[in-house]
């Protein structure tokens, strides 16, 4: 069927509709283009920001290299007896036990910031005796360090060994805990290094380290440093924090009990 001839008005309207459709298509196209450009810019800026954040984050996570072991802080420990790894008078009524991993940087911090005051005010005065359990959850370096620490304990010098180790602590699991490093730490702590390293290879040293793990699991110790406190032969309870205020309050509480 032949199509009807369009009137001038219909032609005008058709052209107008076509023009509007073209304009709408152009608007949509330019809007889409502009949005894509904005989106790409947003992706680029976000990616740059993430890279900067990652670099900052990585820099913050880079631990220091090990230092040369220095003689243990003798003024802190001088004159305080140590028997079987327990620092202080055997008659002290309260026992604080610190669970540590020698590679743990927070343990080193606590040794620097908390232990000197604790030892001066509580251990040296005969109120508290300080025990230690060396765990090795951070890695193989921790295990070797814990075994040699058992050798130092055999010589009645666990605490000087711990403090000397913390003073020289390096990057976790970087392999810095070599026998040479441990020998330097032992010597700085006044420990017979040959004997300590030889003892580290014995079943007794392994047993000591295993027992620390067993004790930690029994008490639910899941972080280091963690202190437990006990009066006399009573049951140990785990302290949730390790700042000097918490320790002093817990000791005072146990002493009253």
């Amino acid at each position: 069927m032949p199509s009807r001839t369009m009137t001038k008005r219909e032609l005008r309207e058709q052209r107008r509709a076509e023009r509007l459709a073209a304009e709408a298509a152009e608007t949509a196209r330019s809007t889409r283009h502009r949005r894509l450009v904005r989106l790409l810019a947003a992706v680029g800026v976000a990616a740059l920001a993430v890279v900067i954040a990652a670099v900052l984050s990585s820099a913050g996570g880079k631990p220091a290299a090990p230092a040369t072991p220095q003689p243990a802080v003798t003024s802190v420990l001088a004159g305080i007896p140590e028997h079987g790894g327990v620092l202080g008078s055997p008659n002290a009524p309260v026992t604080l036990t610190e669970y540590v991993d020698l590679q743990c940087p927070v343990c080193a911090e606590a040794a620097r910031d908390t232990l000197p005051q604790l030892i001066r005010t509580q251990v040296r005065t005969g109120k508290v005796k300080l025990d230690a359990r060396t765990l090795h959850f951070i890695g193989l370096d921790s295990q070797r360090a814990a075994l040699v620490a058992a050798g130092a304990e055999q010589q009645g010098k666990l605490w000087p060994f711990l403090l000397a180790f913390y003073g020289a602590q390096g990057q976790e699991n970087s392999g810095y805990v070599t026998d040479g490093f441990l020998r330097d730490v032992a010597q700085a702590a006044g420990v017979d290094a040959d004997k300590a390293l030889a003892y580290a290879d014995t079943a007794a040293a392994q047993q000591r380290v295993n027992q620390a793990d067993v004790d930690a699991q029994r008490l639910g110790v899941n972080a280091t440093p963690t202190f437990t406190i006990a009066k006399g032969d009573g049951a140990a309870r785990v302290l949730q924090k390790h700042d000097i205020g918490t320790l002093d309050r817990a000791i005072a509480q146990e002493a009253k009990a």
Partner: protein
């Protein structure tokens, strides 16, 4: 899409708020034995330039929710930018958890999923919105 984004952002806000509270109320710093949130929260990666990452996440979700309050072109672009930023940073943190800390924090994974969803939703919302000059349906 906007409503779905608000819902996801609120879920992420809840997770980030929990992690921020846990960070500030988690006691003194420790080396954690158990792998998981404790390890991640106490790692050196838990802070960026001294600011807890959980707090940064919280601020990110607040920013996204503020941007979602409006439904115009700049707000849609801002939402997409913040969500992409959050997605990228979440991806980096997830890599750190798996490759460096060898510990997975389920709450952090939850937040990363929220950021991924928000990035997808906000990009789709930005690209699919009607051309300028016509009211947006969201």
């Amino acid at each position: 899409m906007r409503l779905a984004s608000v819902a996801v952002a609120l879920a992420g806000l809840g997770i980030a708020a929990y992690l921020t509270i846990a960070h500030y109320d988690g006691g003194t710093t420790v080396c954690a034995i158990s792998h998981g949130c404790e390890t991640v929260q106490h790692s050196t990666y838990a802070k960026l330039a001294g600011i807890p990452v959980a707090l940064l996440g919280l601020l990110g979700y607040v920013g996204i929710l503020v941007a979602l309050a409006r439904d115009d072109e700049p707000a849609r672009t801002a939402t997409a930018f913040l969500a992409l930023l959050g997605f990228g940073f979440s991806a980096w943190l997830t890599y750190v958890e798996v490759a460096k800390l060898e510990a997975i924090c389920i709450w952090c994974v939850g937040s990363a999923i929220c950021m991924t969803l928000l990035a997808a939703l906000s990009v789709a919302r930005l690209l699919s919105a009607p051309p300028l000059g016509r009211p947006a349906s969201g």
